[in-house]
């Protein structure tokens, strides 16, 4: 499919929804090399400030790690970016031109932001293959799905991803129900679903929780190979994993950025040590 028809499909699809921000859609404008820009974001729940004037800039192709104690607001930040939670104040831009606060969840997904949730959410009653099939980047309108069928190139793409996330082998292979997978495998399946969407920006909330050391290491390899072509934001508690990833680290605390830099720098930062040890 060439870029022009793809665009038209996007727009038709959006035409079916009630929100009309068609003009701003299309390619993400990366002219200033910034893919995600959060400015002064605040979110409060019943008076409690989960995010407090949060500033964050992610460059195109970057692999960014976000750490912070429980309740620091890491998941809430992802909720704001993906439209699940609306911020009370502040601005949230994808590229130079797309204002995320005006788009619905589905529109944000279409614009090119994919997300892996903290709790793995896959479709337990569908097979591994079908989970990936639904995630595939394609025309997702109902009337198209009625007649849709998988082309050879799409099948190949699913097969490739299955290999990448190592779910092509084992009992039942790709045909086993996703509900039967181990916790680590579910995490991988969800990562695979993200890859099928071919997003420009991947948000990964605790992707290696429940994985064995071996699985964790392979996940780090996978993420590093994705950086450059994609931008990644990884939230993790597992410091060994963050070290393997080797990117820039942002420390969140009480809804705001506490420190930023490479892992060694932030680990030696007085305030960071205090936040982590002072509990």
């Amino acid at each position: 499919m060439n870029a022009v028809t793809e665009n038209r499909h996007d727009q038709e699809w959006l035409g079916g929804t009630s929100i009309g921000h068609l003009k701003r859609h299309g390619e993400v404008d990366l002219s200033h090399r910034v893919i995600l820009y959060l400015e002064d974001i605040s979110v409060s729940f019943d008076g409690f400030k989960a995010l407090n004037n949060l500033h964050l800039t992610i460059d195109a192709g970057e692999l960014r790690c976000i750490i912070g104690p429980n309740g620091a607001g890491k998941t809430t930040m992802m909720d704001v970016i993906t439209g699940k939670t609306r911020s009370d104040a502040g601005r949230c831009f994808f590229g130079q031109t797309i204002d995320l606060s005006t788009l619905s969840e589905a529109e944000i997904a279409h614009a090119g932001i994919g997300r892996k949730f903290q709790k793995p959410t896959i479709f337990e009653n569908l097979s591994v293959f079908e989970n990936l099939e639904l995630a595939l980047k394609t025309d997702k309108r109902a009337r198209v799905s009625l007649f849709a069928w998988l082309g050879d190139d799409q099948r190949d793409k699913i097969t490739d991803t299955l290999k990448q996330i190592r779910l092509d082998k084992g009992v039942g292979g790709a045909d086993r129900p996703a509900g039967l997978l181990s916790h680590g495998q579910k995490q991988w399946l969800e990562i695979g679903m993200l890859l099928m969407q071919d997003p420009k920006l991947l948000l990964l909330d605790e992707p290696v929780a429940g994985m064995t050391d071996d699985e964790t290491e392979r996940t780090a390899e996978l993420f590093k190979s994705l950086a450059g072509k994609h931008s990644l934001v990884v939230v993790e508690h597992d410091m060994a994993f963050i070290e393997q990833l080797g990117g820039k680290v942002t420390v969140l605390h009480e809804g705001a950025v506490l420190a930023e830099g490479d892992l060694a720098t932030v680990q030696n930062d007085e305030r960071v040590i205090e936040v982590y040890l002072g509990r």
Partner: protein, 369 residues
């Protein structure tokens, strides 16, 4: 690889065993039983009586409704407790045509249906316009329920009304419609509804030939419904529905708009019910607002639960089991029917969560092991 033609994909959606079963069913319902009814004299031991044909036709209508219910409940996880409304609407729309076909043979020998003469109306209300046309009535059988389902579904699904709230609202919808149809002024015969039908397309409605024609037609529609349902649930469309049932918000983050999917299957399901209702009324010979009672809609859900949710064929079996027992009970011990139905539902919920089909699968699995 070239694109597989749609017809072939449609046919492949049903496995070979399914096609064989449908073939056997077609031979029995469309050839054997009609022949045994028409050709053999009543005293012959193999003669099939009018009672059996009518009961069979009625149960097949219910089976169509059950499959429609399975599409929305079993496959999309949306429990409608108002599907009796769409069934009744289809019945009423076709009933209007049947009333017009009575012509001047009614008790008042008027051009107007008897109940209108009784109300001292001088002409047909505007919404009866065109009801003497067979084709227009058939079109309305589809259009009216589709429109109502679409508008209702649009607002309900857009407001993200789910689960038990949705079920309760659909109950209220059918209940409200029943009250409306009970009123004489609504123009659909009040609590007597429509009855005393005489003809379809000029042919007598109670003749044996018409009886087997309607019977065979119902069998055909039931088979078509099963094939269509099978295609829908094996197409990507059906997998998106299953995904919505599992986790709707996840589906949205993948870039699907669940509203359109739910609305499509909901409206289709309503239309299938309406077709079943239109086939039901000439066979049973009556339609009244009782068809819209909340209990009727709940019974539909019981058929599906008894047969096995999400299996398409299970609901057909469930509709047959429940309704055959109903005809037996209402003749043998009429006062115990509701107790039996309640016990059946509780029993199935406790011991057969996947219904009769689930039981069958468990037995098969044990035999293999």
């Amino acid at each position: 690889m070239t694109r597989t033609p749609f017809v072939i994909r449609f046919c492949n959606a049903t496995p070979k065993s399914g096609w064989i079963a449908l073939g056997i069913f077609a031979a029995i319902a469309m050839l054997l039983l009609p022949a045994l009814h028409l050709v053999l004299p009543p005293e012959h031991p193999l003669h099939v009586s009018a009672y059996v044909i009518t009961l069979g036709g009625k149960i097949m209508c219910y089976a169509i409704v059950a499959v429609a219910m399975d599409l929305i409940w079993g496959h999309a996880g949306i429990l409608s407790l108002g599907h009796g409304l769409f069934f009744a609407l289809g019945g009423y729309v076709f009933g209007m045509y049947l009333m017009r076909q009575i012509g001047r043979d009614g008790s008042y020998q008027s051009d107007l249906p008897d109940f209108m003469v009784f109300l001292d109306w001088k002409e047909l209300p505007w919404y009866w316009a065109g009801s003497d046309s067979f084709l227009w009535s058939l079109a309305l059988v589809l259009i009216v329920p589709a429109l109502i389902a679409y508008v209702f579904g649009y607002f309900a699904f857009r407001s993200r009304i789910k689960g038990v709230y949705f079920s309760i609202i659909t109950q209220a919808l059918t209940f409200a419609a029943m009250l409306l149809f009970f009123r004489n002024e609504t123009g659909f015969g009040g609590n007597n509804g429509f009855t005393d039908f005489k003809r379809i397309l000029g042919y007598g409605v109670t003749t044996p030939e018409m009886r087997v024609t309607l019977f065979a037609l119902t069998a055909l529609v039931l088979m078509a419904t099963l094939l269509l349902g099978r295609y829908l649930v094996t197409a990507k469309f059906g997998r998106v529905l299953a995904a919505i049932r599992d986790s709707e918000s996840r589906v949205m983050f993948l870039g699907y708009n669940p509203l359109h999917y739910k609305l499509a299957i909901w409206t289709l399901s309503a239309m299938l019910c309406a077709v079943a209702g239109a086939l039901y009324v000439p066979q049973v010979g009556i339609i009244n607002p009782g068809e819209m009672s909340p209990a009727n809609s709940i019974e539909i859900a019981i058929w599906v639960a008894v047969g096995g949710r999400g299996t398409l064929i299970g609901p057909v079996i469930g509709a047959a089991i429940v309704n055959l027992s109903k005809s037996y009970f209402t003749m043998a011990f009429p006062e115990y029917w509701l107790f039996f139905l309640g016990a059946l539902f509780v029993g199935v919920t406790l011991w057969l969560p996947d219904g009769v089909v689930g039981l069958w699968k468990r037995i098969q699995a044990r035999r293999v092991a």
